[in-house]
Structure formats: structure tokens, C-alpha cells
Assembly symmetry: C2
């Protein structure tokens, strides 16, 4: 049986979300992994989705996560210095299940540097204008994210995305991450 | 035995993080809940913390999460339209364990409205300047967050923070959330 990977990421917000998802599934297949998308992108939402529609997607995604062996999480920053919160939620879900957490990103700078740049702070600032601390552990995002990757024996792979592609898809880092994930044996107990 | 609550939030980044944490523990105690902070704030970090220090905090937090009955998660937006990713990771961790997820926030506007305001978009915008979708389910954040609260029979409580307090602490919403959490019986199976 092939390992089944949950393909998490802000990719669902891309204009060509379905094409990106299918391309990632094809890359997984070439490396012996079955990729699954968190929601059926071929099944369009109503024009004005309701909270109940959102809760139904949550339940479907949670059931799919429990059925997958590992997560391939796109942790490219999204509208902030940090990763997309939907993806981060899913990373926490897999970490609690003790299943391998693989992360990839097109952001190659560190978290503290990205945070200071986004907030317009000096390169040595330790707090922002509100007095809130700048987390600086020389890690790629909030410590809980790379912590989960390390604790579950996954890998965090950052690669610059080639020009012409939306960096949010992080296709280059994705393929490197799939190659890394394909090297491990299943089942894995973290 | 009192229920033990994991007190998650970007509170750790406040200038008076330890005082805020102690105040929240005291509020919990008044309502019959034992509040636990995700890291020992009384135990200061080295001046230049390393990735290994970050991973040690991760392991301590993960062990503490497994020992707690529920999470009280401060999902007040942090440097973005969404909640702090460290807190969101912990919410996903509790959701996977099937333990009650209670959320509180000082943000009383909806997620889509906050996102458009932060990005300077029109009130009816469906995509941002990069073409990325604005999630709009009439929910308080990315659907996975309120989805987890609903699926684990928790509650999401938003209250305006009184003037003079840092809205990031969300003290008013916190006390309302503790009152709600104190009404449930333990053990709970979600």
C-alpha cells in the first residue's frame, strides 16, 4: 500500500487551485506517494457559503486527515510573516496523531528577519511598536511549527520559487519535500 | 479532580506576559479550572536562543498539551487578519486528540471583513491583488478554527476589550470563555 499524504496549503486560495493541486498529486505519484487534497476542489461552493458549509468542510478535512499517513504542508507565509493558519491547524493535527510532518516553503529567509521586514523594524529589533516580542530562535517560523517537524522526524525544505510561478504554490520546494518524504518507511511511530 | 486547561495565546509575546498569565490562572481558579501556561515564563530564555532551545520548548508544550483536558485558545488576530500560528497549531493538536476547544478573541468583526480591511480592499472584494481568494463563510477566522470549536463542542467567544488594556490579551473575552468552559462536565469525548 502506498503512503497517503495530506496535501495542505494556502494553494486552495490560488486562482488555479485545482490545477496546482492536480500537479502536486502527479508529482507525488511519480515518487510512490498518493496525494490527497483537503477538499474536493472539483465540487464548487455555493455563491454565498454559510458557516454550516464551512463546518462541513472542516468535518470532511478532519476525516481525511485521520485517513492519511503523513502531511506535506505548504508553510509559505500567507498575508503575514507566518504560514496560513488553516495549514498550521492541520500540522498540529498531524503532530498530535504522531504522524510525520513534512513542511515546504518558498520563503528562504528566517522568521525573525521576515517579521521585522514586514513590520518595518530595525534588523536588531526585539519588540514591535506595540511592545510585542519578535520571536527569534533562528527558526523558519513560530517554534511550534519546526518543532513539530523535528519531533515527528519530518523535514522542512525551503527553496526559492522560479520566476513566473506564484511563490504561494512553492512548487520547487514541494517536489524536494516529496523526494524527502518518499525516503521514509511506513508505518512510522513518532 | 479539577479540569486542567492549556492556556494558549500570543500572550507570551506581551511585555507583561507573566503577569497576564498569572491573572488568567487566577480567573480559571475562581471558576474551578486549573490553568496551565504553555511554557515556564518564570524560566527566562538565554540572550540568544537557538533552534535547539525552540525545539525543547516545543517538546515541553506538546507533553503539557497531552496532559490537559481542554484548551482555552486566545485567537485574537496577531500581525495578520488571523490568529497567532503557535496558538492555532495547539488548537489543531487538541482537535486531533478530540478534546474540547474553547476559543476567545477581542476581534468582534468577521474574518472576511478583517482581511479586506487589512489589505485595503473593497468591502465586496472576493480576491486580493495577487488573485488569492478572500475566504468568506461568515465565520470568525479560517474555517478550520471555528470548525474545530464546533466539532469538539466548545465555544468561540468574542468581546471588545475595554480601553486601557492590550487587546492582544483579550481579558474580557477570556473570562467569558472560562465561564462557558466551566459549565461542561469532564471527561468529554468529542
Amino acid at each position: 500500500m502506498k503512503p497517503i499524504a495530506y496535501l495542505a496549503g494556502p494553494d486552495v486560495f490560488l486562482p488555479d487551485a485545482l490545477a496546482v493541486g492536480r500537479a502536486k498529486i502527479a508529482i507525488c505519484a511519480r515518487h510512490g506517494i498518493e496525494g490527497r487534497l483537503p477538499l474536493d476542489l472539483a465540487n464548487p461552493l455555493p455563491a454565498r457559503p454559510t458557516p454550516a458549509d464551512g463546518h462541513a468542510i472542516y468535518r470532511a478535512n478532519a476525516a481525511l486527515m485521520r485517513a492519511c499517513h503523513l502531511i506535506l504542508a505548504n508553510l509559505t507565509p500567507f498575508r503575514s510573516p507566518s504560514a496560513d493558519v488553516g495549514t498550521v491547524f492541520e500540522l498540529g493535527f498531524f503532530a498530535a496523531m504522531g504522524r510525520p510532518c513534512f513542511a515546504y516553503s518558498s520563503a528562504t529567509r528566517g522568521f525573525a528577519e521576515r517579521t521585522r521586514a514586514m513590520l518595518g523594524l530595525a534588523p536588531d529589533a526585539t519588540r514591535d511598536a506595540q511592545g510585542h516580542e519578535i520571536e527569534a530562535f533562528n527558526l523558519p517560523d513560530n517554534l511550534m511549527l519546526p518543532g513539530a517537524v523535528a519531533a515527528t522526524h519530518g523535514q522542512w525544505i525551503a527553496r526559492d520559487e522560479p520566476p513566473g510561478l506564484d511563490p504561494l504554490a512553492a512548487m520547487a520546494a514541494f517536489e524536494a519535500c516529496v523526494v524527502a518524504a518518499a525516503r521514509i518507511s511506513f508505518p512510522v511511530t513518532a
